[in-house]
């Protein structure tokens, strides 16, 4: 089957259009319309009044990371390094150690995420075989006054709860 060729009519070849001035004025009328609309009633602006009005985020939103726990409170992570291996920006740093609680043989003794390097691609979440790392904290504004405090440790990651109900998160394909 041959590709269908459709000749698109070229715009801008009429005299008036080539004169440019008329088109400039047309364009300017459009922008002026917007200007007056907003000037006369600025409640019509297409803006969100952040930070007072926060955006509603969905369960699929990739926010700051967290590490999940089993129902009995033990760490789900088994320090398999899959997230670190998959991380395209190399922002995950894990150190593993022995584990004796019967869940696994291995657990992280250090789990650092350098949020300054993270690109929030979510590959770590996809790579995780244990559903131990998630990006469902709903935290989208990650700021700090120092570089050091942008590196999250194991404790920080475990402390933050998820922002969504389990079924909602699962529905999001997580």
């Amino acid at each position: 089957m041959s590709i269908k060729v459709r000749t698109v009519e070229r715009k801008g070849r009429t005299f008036l259009e080539q004169l440019y001035l008329v088109e400039v004025i047309k364009g300017m009328t459009v922008t002026l319309g917007h200007f007056f609309r907003n000037l006369l009633d600025n409640s019509r602006l297409y803006v969100r009044h952040y930070p007072e009005v926060k955006p509603e985020i969905t369960a699929r939103w990739r926010g700051r990371h967290r590490l999940t726990r089993h129902e009995d409170g033990s760490v789900k992570c088994v320090a398999c390094f899959m997230c670190q291996t998959n991380c395209p920006s190399n922002c995950i740093m894990i150190e593993a150690g022995e584990r004796f609680d019967g869940k696994s043989e291995k657990m992280p003794t250090r789990f650092d995420i350098d949020l300054l390097e993270c690109i929030y691609c979510g590959y770590c979440v996809e790579a995780c075989p244990m559903d131990a790392i998630r990006m469902d904290t709903g935290i989208y504004s990650v700021t700090s006054y120092s570089r050091e405090s942008m590196v999250l440790g194991l404790e920080d990651l475990l402390e933050t709860p998820g922002a969504f109900a389990e079924e909602e998160y699962k529905k999001g394909g997580g």
Partner: protein, 520 residues
């Protein structure tokens, strides 16, 4: 070289060495036959059935490749449907009770089962009954940790303890699905080669407690090197990795196959000697205990050497041939006496007939070839008369503190060019840091006259200068290791024909060594 035979693999003609089995012979020409239980050092056992191939000459449809020697005109089938099916079936069988805990398994990434599954199977499990559970994290002694569930019962470890170390600590107990590798109760592994079991285990059943969980293997850079633990000079792989924001460190040594020297294995002492490369390192130049800049240190050493009337230089028997040559040159330049005294490197009775030697000096043959005197008499006389000792990384107290030497050393003004912080260098007034053997390249000659070359493996954030570089900074003419060779070739007869760039991985066995053995 053995004679060549021609045979056909999947209809394609290949030429291989005769006298080998199919696995070994075809591996040389790049054809892989999957196998678990066969290991060239342990021989064919034929229990895993993974290497089943077809031979089109009236034999049964499936024969184990590990037990089949190559023959002229043999027609080997590797990709026939029934071969593929048997491979899939064997893998399915092996995986019935395998826990598939690859995420937490240290072997993941270098696991035969994993690789073969990806290459030959990719089937889903059909099992619906619960898996048989067995012992996990069992301490077998000598730093070997065993996981019975991951085991594929190839028996390599059992055969290793019976054939190689002849200690026989391991056995396969029980039968059928309850079979497992075990030690006899109360008799854990107890031999100096036990960690080789971790290397030869095709799956993650045997892990080393030393390396366990420390790093994933796919992050490691695997550079060939030579163990400097003793005069055997075993071929090793240096597995190292630079973690983010950190320095390049070695995580483990593994045996590298070199049939000329160590065969397939290395001893545990050598394997664990990697820790010495990471720890206790001298990283900064010191003058009377105070940290100074390296360049400043070099200047100070030059000054002292110029002032000294009768300097004495002491070189480590671990140094590479090139470094020895360069130090020899610099000794001539400063009119210094040169000694390679290193009797303390010999620990009597420590060696065995296999891979461990009494002599812990890696390159004593180099000292002999370059005719560097390493007699105690010469060194003692030199030490008594010298006003400046320059010690190039020679740990005089290796086998224990020598009181006579210690009192003499304390009296002598000395300069230490050292890679590690050791007691022997404490009396030195100037200390210069230098590279250790994983951080430079060179050649060494082992006790059996095998010349081996190794390359720089580690690239530290602050790369320490190697002895050769330090001699250059002190005014020597040798720029780098290859630059030393024309001189070495001229003065050492048995090395005259060696091309240092063309030394093969397995090394070169030097000839007419008796004639050149003068210095000893």
């Amino acid at each position: 070289m053995a004679e060549l035979v021609k045979l056909f693999v999947n209809g394609q003609e290949v030429e291989v060495e005769s006298g080998k089995n199919l696995i070994d012979a075809l591996r040389v020409v790049g054809i892989e036959i999957p196998h678990f239980c066969y290991h060239p050092a342990l021989g064919a056992d034929g229990n895993c059935r993974m290497c089943l191939v077809g031979i089109e000459d009236g034999r049964p449809p499936l024969v184990p490749a590990c037990k089949t020697p190559v023959q002229e005109g043999m027609k080997v089938l590797l990709d026939a449907e029934h071969i593929k099916k048997i491979q899939r079936d064997v893998l399915e069988f092996e995986l019935i009770n395998h826990p598939v805990d690859c995420p937490v398994c240290d072997q993941a990434g270098e696991c035969a089962l994993q690789d073969y599954y990806m290459n030959y199977s990719l089937d889903d499990s059909r099992m619906q009954v619960a898996q048989v559970t067995k012992g996990k994290r069992m301490d077998f002694g000598c730093g070997v940790v065993h996981d019975q569930e991951r085991c594929v019962l190839c028996g390599r470890c059992v055969r290793f303890t019976r054939q190689i170390t002849k200690t026989g600590e391991l056995g396969i107990v029980n039968r059928t699905d309850a079979a497992r590798v075990s030690i006899f109760p109360g008799k854990p592994l107890n031999n100096r080669y036990a960690l080789n079991i971790v290397d030869i285990c095709p799956v993650g059943a045997m892990t080393s407690s030393d390396f366990r969980f420390r790093q994933r293997v796919w992050f490691l850079k695997k550079d060939p090197g030579i163990c400097h633990g003793c005069s055997k000079g075993c071929a090793i792989y240096i597995d190292h990795h630079r973690e983010k924001y950190k320095d390049d460190v070695i995580y483990r040594y593994r045996a590298r196959t070199n049939l000329n020297v160590n065969g397939y294995f290395i001893c545990d002492d050598g394997r664990l000697s990697y820790a010495g490369e990471n720890e206790n390192r001298q990283t900064s130049a010191l003058a009377d205990g105070a940290v100074i800049g390296f360049d400043e240190g070099i200047e100070l050493v030059r000054e002292r050497l110029d002032r000294a009337r009768k300097p004495l230089m002491l070189i480590s028997p671990d140094c590479s041939l090139e470094q020895m040559w360069a130090v020899q040159r610099i000794a001539t330049l400063y009119g210094a006496e040169l000694s390679g005294y290193s009797d303390n490197y010999i620990i009597d009775g420590d060696g065995d007939e296999y891979l461990i030697n009494d002599d812990k000096a890696a390159n004593r043959r180099g000292l002999e070839l370059l005719e560097i005197d390493f007699s105690r008499a010469q060194f003692l006389t030199g030490l008594q008369h010298t006003d400046l000792l320059v010690n190039f990384n020679n740990d005089l107290f290796f086998g224990g503190v020598d009181e006579e030497l210690k009192s003499l050393l304390d009296k002598t003004q000395s300069i230490a060019v050292c890679s590690h912080q050791l007691q022997v260098y404490e009396s030195a007034s100037i200390v210069l840091p230098t590279a250790s053997y994983s951080e430079y390249g060179g050649t060494i000659i082992n006790e059996d006259n095998v010349l081996q070359r190794f390359e720089k493996a580690l690239f530290k954030n602050e790369d320490p200068k190697d002895v050769l570089e330090i001699t250059r900074l002190l005014g020597g003419a040798i720029n780098d290791a290859p630059h030393a060779w024309p001189g070495i070739k001229q003065s050492v007869a048995c090395l005259a024909d060696i091309d240092p760039q063309a030394i093969p991985a397995e090394g070169i066995k030097l000839q007419n060594s008796e004639d050149t053995n003068v210095g000893a």
